[in-house]
Symmetry: C2
Subunit: 354 residues, 2 copies
Amino acid sequence: MATIRDVAREAGVSIATVSRVFNDSSLVSEETIALVRAVAERLNYWPNGVARSLITNRTHALGVLLPDIYGEFFSEVIRGIDLAARKHGFHLLVSSSHADSEALAEALRSMSGRVDGLIVMAPDVDAPLAIRSFATHCPVVLLNPGQDVEDCDTISVANHDGAFEMVRHLVSLGHQRIAMVRGPARNLDAEQRLQGYHDALRAAGLGPAPALLEVQGDFTEPSGYEAAMELIARPTRPTAVFVGNDHMAIGVMSALRESGIVVPDDLAVVGFDDIAMARFTSPPLSTVRVNTALLGERAVELLMRAKRRAAPGIKQHEVLPTSLAIRSSCGARHGRRDAAGRQVRTRTTPTTSG
Amino acid sequence: MATIRDVAREAGVSIATVSRVFNDSSLVSEETIALVRAVAERLNYWPNGVARSLITNRTHALGVLLPDIYGEFFSEVIRGIDLAARKHGFHLLVSSSHADSEALAEALRSMSGRVDGLIVMAPDVDAPLAIRSFATHCPVVLLNPGQDVEDCDTISVANHDGAFEMVRHLVSLGHQRIAMVRGPARNLDAEQRLQGYHDALRAAGLGPAPALLEVQGDFTEPSGYEAAMELIARPTRPTAVFVGNDHMAIGVMSALRESGIVVPDDLAVVGFDDIAMARFTSPPLSTVRVNTALLGERAVELLMRAKRRAAPGIKQHEVLPTSLAIRSSCGARHGRRDAAGRQVRTRTTPTTSG
DNA sequence: ATCCTCCGTGTAAACGGTTTCACCTGAGTC
DNA sequence: GACTCAGGTGAAACCGTTTACACGGAGGAT
């Protein structure tokens, strides 16, 4: 690979001049620019990014730390991040990872100096020391932090309000016995959704929280299946069930189908997240829509703002609002299959390849 | 941020010694190691990755170039890449983009020196000059290259064979008039699948290719919808349709449902890719399974091997085999709904969060 | 003619590490 | 006691850039 010295020698100028040409400095004469550019082209030269970063202390890269296994939700967030980052001319340095906090610290260390900002998505991890110390010299945004954090900028989903709205919707459809399949304990998303559910019940005069109508899941599809089986085996059967996320809701619907329970006639089912699949279940799943890609986009914007910000003391905490995606599984549109089919057709995003 | 000099001064040793400690050199005494580690911990020091890369010429990062818009297919490939890269201790430097080849060249340049290897996914781009010149000084793997390429390692999907097998399966179910919804012209995936379809028809004694049974799409869901509408309006209606990818197949099935055509009784439908959604359509979509994550994983392995390889002259071209995912939409399992439901439940990968 | 400015360019010092080589010391050998 | 040897350490070169500063020459003002 040709270096700046090769170009300088070949063009008969100093390396400083070559550097100036590639940094659009206005102090170089037209002829010199043309000469240097020509030589660079011929030698197939381009400034080495690493060397550049070392001296300028800017890398034009954002770090992204993902949880160990990630599914559709995270893919979508990454896409949002990527799109936004690209707009600002940034790459993404991605590292999935991090079962334990030692693995996370390790990943963090190896990002050290390589990124201009960091986005951490680790819903179970409560921002350990490693992240905080990283945040002292580099802007960090926590996505869906596992707990309330003061040391970093954060951006999170309006879990409580989304759950509240959805349960209120079920109430408005006439449901009185509304069950919930909860997410994993110690997961903030799960806890906030549960809280929203409780609050909505209470607000509707249906509370306090009916323990017999709550069942535990862990955000995976199989756990939704098990949860549904457990729920329908209980003495008091609900008329509607609010499931902690869409993956579990799909499991719930499989279980119900196998048990001969018709959705939504016998039991209404609603989820949370609005993953792409939600539109394709039968019946299509009503769910709380989270603009996942926007979540990533906002994270990038927050980082960009943090870089410009003079006082690093003040941290920002953004909440991304949700909306209801009402389809057929809750019974609100029951029977209007065609409309649902039509909706399916127009909402999907195109793909480039196969 | 503390530098190596700070640690050296504080510990009363030279920077060389500190460096050795952090590179597990065996030539340092136990006491010195302990001392340096302690000081480093106290100062919160970790070697700067960029400076390290500059001198060692290794970055522990792989570049990933994506097409402009990407959907589920590419997310899945990235996940495979990420998983495999992580196993080797590598990060991913991701850059989506690249409508035109100038944008691609730009992205390529900014990766210059920042990565130890590069994976390019750009199905429409025919490996322009920029990629080739990059490949002269850094291993490059092309994923699903737009054409046959000799200059780089490549890895691609067995499009022809997958299509061939699927059409043969349809034939074995007794279908005689099998239509095809093609992918975009000039897309190699699309062309190879078309070729497989033709060859299978000919092999079954049903060829040559029936022009009246072919209709054009562009791999998007709406285009599948339009294609189906066009197809059923034609005089000779097929009994089965092989759709170029799953996204279009979903569009096809919406169109058929709206038109009152029952799948698979009136018309069998099969797709290609086995995207996650394929199991959730009604009826579940029979399709050609591509192990997408494995595709990414293989790409990483190829890069790792290329780095070890002495002679850079010999390029490898790997083909990833496909298999059939037979569900209900082709009629082969018609009526066995429970089994399908069960399958759905066990195949899905879990997600960590909501 | 002298002095200033301004423009274009070169020199050299960073940036934060790794690594080669030389040096020192103490132990072992004859 | 001189010599070898090996283990531990430090000095300095180097990686490929950017950039502060110096410098020289042209041109205008005095």
